[in-house]
Amino acid sequence: MEFLGHLALGFATALSPMNLLLAFIGCLVGTLIGVLPGVGPIATIAMLMPLTLKVDPTGALIMLAGIYYGAQYGGSTTAILLNIPGEVTAVVTAIDGHEMAKKGQAGTALGIAALGSFLAGTVATLVIAAIGAPLTKLALLFGPAEYFGLMVFGLGLAIVLARGSVLKAVIMVVLGLLLATVGTDLETGQDRLTLGIAELSDGVDFAVLAMGVFGIAEILRNLEHPESRDVAVSKIGRLLPSLGDLRRSLGPIVRGTGIGSVLGILPGNGAVLGPFASYALEKKLAKDPSRFGRGAIEGVAGPESANNAGAQTSFIPLLTLGIPPNAVMALMVGAMTIHGLIPGPQVMLKHPTLFWGMIASMWIGNLFLLIINLPLIGLWVRLLKVPYRLMFTTILLFCAIGIYSINNNPYDVYFTAFFGLAGYLFIKLGLEPAPMLLGFVLGRLMEEKLRQALALSEGSFLTFVERPVAAGLLVLAAAVMVIAVLPAVSRSRAKAFQE
């Protein structure tokens, strides 16, 4: 078994006292900064990258990876406690996680998120060590046409995510798709739908949109009924998941890990689909799907595991191809380059201690996260007892700082305020923001991939039929949408007949 030798080399590197300390510092600092509302992994790594310049490359990357996991986990914490997802993958966690927090189960939600993440991280580490390199070849089979198929499949999931009316979910998805078209046109470089505002030429930032429609809107709603909110969070409940919770979460964790690991390998930022796919699957498998959206623990356990597994396997395209699949990985490339290492297919051969040391440190980092976070859960949950008049002002302040720190751009703060008002309007109209965010995330990729596929096929739509993987994904997408829509249609017809 070659990979056992590699793992041994990796652990020998990662377990050196210095690297252990760096991994611990990375996880701790990442958690503490990531837990500030509005500060996600990208902002955290960008802010803290200079800290790692003084350390040797292996140690620096181990610390950065720790910051990444820590910030990612910290983002889930704010999603659960405050309904503020710091990044795309935490959007799903916010749906049921925050409902659990409102019911006084914040500790359980945070606990299951930590445990699920740890299990997923362990499996993903083994996946990377064992079959990371061969899997890269699979990822390369994915051209623009295949990604387009995958994104359409993702949109099908948006409908499954809906808590209530399918029609309203479709409206929100379309709104998300439209928001994604704001910015510079891919092929011509012309501004589209920017209303002449130069700051919109790069499009709407995800964090700006998410912070607005989730975080700020939530604050506005809470301010409307401050009394009911205080009652809701005053009962804290147990801090750790019970045995029954664990039993119910095991299946979702295993399935979420599988989904997340596979999607994370795709270099075209497939990892964002992981939590959404996991949530949709769990909702479909559940005996009583109506619990989802009202604080179902499976809706936290599955997506959180998928999220963490994907976060780790998304290192595969970076380490084996030298291609960063997302913004966080692009920062890692920068960090590696500053240390004189250019990521590419040769990192594994030329720097085996760095490569395997980093992979081993992923597992160690996950263990540290568990150790750091389980005791902290009590502290985070107690934060909810802070009087709301103090809390919401602090949240607003940190949101503004966090948003500003992403691009050092004051306009982003104004846009966030605007989306906050829009989000409040959505709440009043009974529209859910999660499908909109999925549409927004997928929209940009989908348009890009569609246009690339058509450019390469010289305008022939047959490319989506002739390529088997693309055709298969589109059929799957159609099937998901039919399955998702049919029960709703038959229900409404049944209702119509009753009347």
Partner: protein, 222 residues
């Protein structure tokens, strides 16, 4: 071909007086691109040495957006006292006036150049099994309409785009062009064989060429 220049905001009056003691407090070095990109890396590495040599901290501030013009605009509007400097390059000071109709700065009048920091050559690269062994055969392929050669680029206005556009316009050929957002996704499809060739800065491609997952035909000398 792509020059990275550090540009200093024009300081007509304060410049000379301050020259004796400069810098007496930390200097902001605006990088008009996201952290981790090639320009940011150059700024951070050289910034370390500015700090050591001049005895004051040079703080890198990433102000990304609109092809680097957001950050340069911010710098152009800063107080011209030498405590706000920028890392500009061919894109922000050469291509931007042609690409952005409402550019809020004049690349020549609004800045005082400090020095040339680095030059990055451009490579022309193809997928590893592209049926052309050298530049001559590659050009012959480009000129053959039946070959239907597919080009990828990293976005309109990027170095990747302008270089390959220069190449095809000089040769007077038109090939199939697919636009990507950034070098990463374009390179991914080149390695995967979805497209045939692309042009980009050497730093983005060198490891893949060395590793044999793509092959290079030509290099530009800066």
């Amino acid at each position: 071909m792509k020059h990275v220049v550090a540009s200093l905001v024009l300081s007509l009056f304060s410049g000379i007086a301050a020259a004796q003691a400069y810098p007496t407090r930390p200097v902001t070095l605006i990088v008009p691109f996201a952290a981790g990109g090639p320009t940011d890396i150059i700024a951070r590495i050289t910034g370390e040495y500015y700090s050591k040599t001049l005895g004051q901290q040079f703080v890198v501030e990433n102000v990304a957006g609109a092809g680097g013009t957001t950050g340069i605009t911010r710098g152009a509007q800063a107080k011209p006292d030498g405590y706000t400097i920028m890392m500009g390059h061919m894109g922000t000071h050469g291509a931007a006036p042609a690409l952005y109709a409402n550019l809020k700065y004049d690349p020549v009048k609004d800045f005082q150049p400090i020095g040339l920091v680095a030059g990055t050559p451009i490579l022309i690269v193809a997928r590893k099994d592209f049926p052309a062994a050298n530049l001559k055969e590659f050009v012959a392929k480009l000129k053959d309409p039946a070959a239907k050669v597919k080009q990828a680029h990293a976005g309109v206005g990027s170095v990747s785009f302008t270089t390959c556009t220069l190449l095809t316009s000089q040769l007077g050929v038109k090939n199939i062009v697919a636009a990507y957002r950034g070098t990463g996704p374009a390179l991914n499809d080149l390695i995967g064989g979805q497209v045939d060739y692309m042009c980009d800065q050497i730093v983005n491609l060198v490891e893949q060429v060395k590793g044999g997952s793509i092959k290079a035909y030509a290099i530009s000398i800066p």
